[in-house]
Symmetry: C2
């Protein structure tokens, strides 16, 4: 029980800076390892394993993240941010249609790690109501940026917008959690891209 609100105080740079160097190091390490372990073993992974693999004691983990949910939230946010940041980098390095396609592929991977997190995420979203709107807003903003760029330079057709694409990706959320889920989702992305390229002013 005991679902105290997950504070967001540690988001403030001031608070972040006030950590001692060793503490900051351990904290970062824990988040990184946690992301890997959650991806590998699922949300119910042993926190002791995370601490072990991060090379810290279990006490240290609990000091930084008093509940499993705190840790999950930070990992979740970090991944969402990474996804958003990738949009800019991809756009800078690739033709805009390729950037969009690659970003959607990563989006699928991102969602993949969220599968099976249903319960934990539900608790998080209940507890911290800004979490969902924050991240989903930022993610769709990133998508919008990519779609608009690709429309603008004619590598995808002009009669769609970001919300159409988001809608099309929506099937990924709701699809059942089968073993072939990932492959099917990738095919879906490809299909979607072909559709988007069809009728573009600039031929692929």
């Amino acid at each position: 029980m005991a679902f105290e609100p997950v504070t967001t105080a540690d988001q403030k740079p001031a608070a972040a800076k006030s950590l001692r160097a060793d503490a900051r190091r351990n904290r970062d390490r824990l988040v990184e390892v946690a992301a890997a372990v959650f991806a590998e073993r699922g949300i119910d992974a042993s926190l002791e394993e995370i601490a072990r693999r991060a090379g810290v004691g279990i006490g240290t983990l609990y000091r930084h993240f008093p509940t499993r949910e705190h840790l999950v939230e930070v990992v979740y946010r970090r991944e969402a941010e990474g996804l958003c940041a990738a949009a800019g980098e991809l756009a800078a390095r690739h033709p805009s249609d390729v950037a969009l396609e690659e970003w959607m592929r990563r989006f699928v991977d991102y969602i993949a790690t969220k599968r099976g997190l249903a319960t934990s995420l539900r608790i998080l979203f209940t507890t911290n109501s800004t979490l969902f709107s924050d991240t989903s807003g930022r993610v769709s903003q990133a998508l919008r940026q990519l779609v608009e760029a690709a429309v603008a330079d004619g590598t995808i057709r002009g009669d769609v917008d970001a919300s159409d694409v988001l809608h099309a990706l929506g099937g990924i959320y709701s699809a059942p959690d089968t073993p072939e889920w990932r492959d099917r989702s990738r095919r879906l992305v490809k299909l979607l891209m072909d559709g988007l390229r069809f009728g573009a002013t600039k031929a692929g």
Copy 2:
């Protein structure tokens, strides 16, 4: 994780009968003790304590109730049934307005045990969607019976119906979980009854 649907197979009398005598005894004992322990210690009470106090091994508890949620569901259903059954008994033993008042008092106690169960119940209701509609339907049916009887014999005013009363009781659900919650709710029931008696054809 692993939220397999909570089966309702054990509701069938046939299945119930097929238990060996000792098994049935232990199962009943467990449910009874679990109700007490959940009420006393909250939903997170130790299952080992429940087994201990029921005088069975922890293995026996888990054989009958493979997850905590299974056990909670059975306790929940049992209590709701008790509440419904009480309506008939109270009606038989008391003037109809007194029966209604006493029943509402018990309803408050019933809800009291559900406080703090938020998460577990949410999981149950998600998993087993009939659970909520089943029980709430039956409970409001019981209330309806009492209200209609009291209206019929004039011990409460005639211009209200069961859904009005249920609505008035609704505040009990939504009130925050403070220490004075129980007392406040009891005062609310009293207040409601005074209002219901006011203008009754048959003076109290």
